[in-house]
Symmetry: C2
Subunit: 197 residues, 2 copies
Amino acid sequence: MPDHFFNKLSKSITLTEADKAIFRQYIIVKKLRKRQYLLQEGEICKSVAFVSKGILRSYLVDEKSNERIIQFAPEGWFISDLYSFVTNEYSNLNIDAIEDSELVLINQEAHAHLENIIPDFFKFNYLQYRGAYISLQKRLTDMFTLSAEEKYIKLLHIYPDIIQRVPQHMIASYLGLTPETLSRVRKKLIAKKPERS
Amino acid sequence: MPDHFFNKLSKSITLTEADKAIFRQYIIVKKLRKRQYLLQEGEICKSVAFVSKGILRSYLVDEKSNERIIQFAPEGWFISDLYSFVTNEYSNLNIDAIEDSELVLINQEAHAHLENIIPDFFKFNYLQYRGAYISLQKRLTDMFTLSAEEKYIKLLHIYPDIIQRVPQHMIASYLGLTPETLSRVRKKLIAKKPERS
DNA sequence: ATTATTTCTTGACTCACATCAACGTATTGA
DNA sequence: TCAATACGTTGATGTGAGTCAAGAAATAAT
């Protein structure tokens, strides 16, 4: 089951068979049904999840109980509330499955231990965080700079796959729009550049 | 001059005198006058800057030639275009000094080399990136969730020092507001809760 | 199969913030 | 010291996206 996970690691670092054997001792494979929570606000985020199948989302719920999606994680991605994971503070994020999914979980102790005994795993996380920071910065400037339509088009180019798989109102939430606005944006776009059949 | 820099590192990792001696071989101390550029868009970001005195900003300029401030870096902070620094692609960011400033520069080669020979420096950067990612995520959700007034109040609480030192229109730009809007927000706030003398 | 639930669309209306424009006040610099 | 430039305020007006409400389509559940 964790093959997909090992493949992911192998893209950035060198993993020996011995390393894999160690990993297997510490990781937990878990399935999640659609709509099932991995983390609920108020809990402490005890593990990082690698998605080997399916797709999850992290989001927070504001005072008016609107959901704000922070991140989608389809297969090959990691998801967690890093803040809570690192500080052991209560999370204000929710993470749940959008489709039936399969995960590889690494809990706090395992994560720290693995980083210690497998230096390349430490390096892997270094690269992950650095990369995540860089892309989040891009996203932030886009959110500032772009109109609703431009945001949607950009997402369409960067993650066409996610747009296919995820309900439209979640896309809207991720982009910081209302479902109504996104619906109108799409209508306008379809009028401009009709679907080829 | 790089004392401030060493202090900063020492807060997260252990630095021996030998380590410091190595650092001194690789770092460059540089002064920047107010309004002077450290990086201009179209260049490749060749170094990471630690601010030991003064304050810098990174920003991008959109089609309508509005400035969008990404980050302020007062003393004790790092600034660079990490994307360009890591990938060697052309930067679309500008970095300049808001006040006369003093920097410690570490260029790409030095940075990579120092990470190799001083494992704790590697660890330090790991922590930096991780922390930067976490706080950027908070900022992103704030930008989505909060009104102009709430954004300003939040900034006032988190970085009161920066608000004191930086022209108001730059605060507006950082918050994704126009100077006019910020001016009106402040007027309203002062009316509500008058300055104590 | 048909009810229930979730998701998407459309229209009418509102509003927070942007834009445009003019002017007052600091700061800076030869 | 007196332009010049940078910075901040205020008012009038515009607009993109939100809100509210109602119904249509699609999906899921029994």
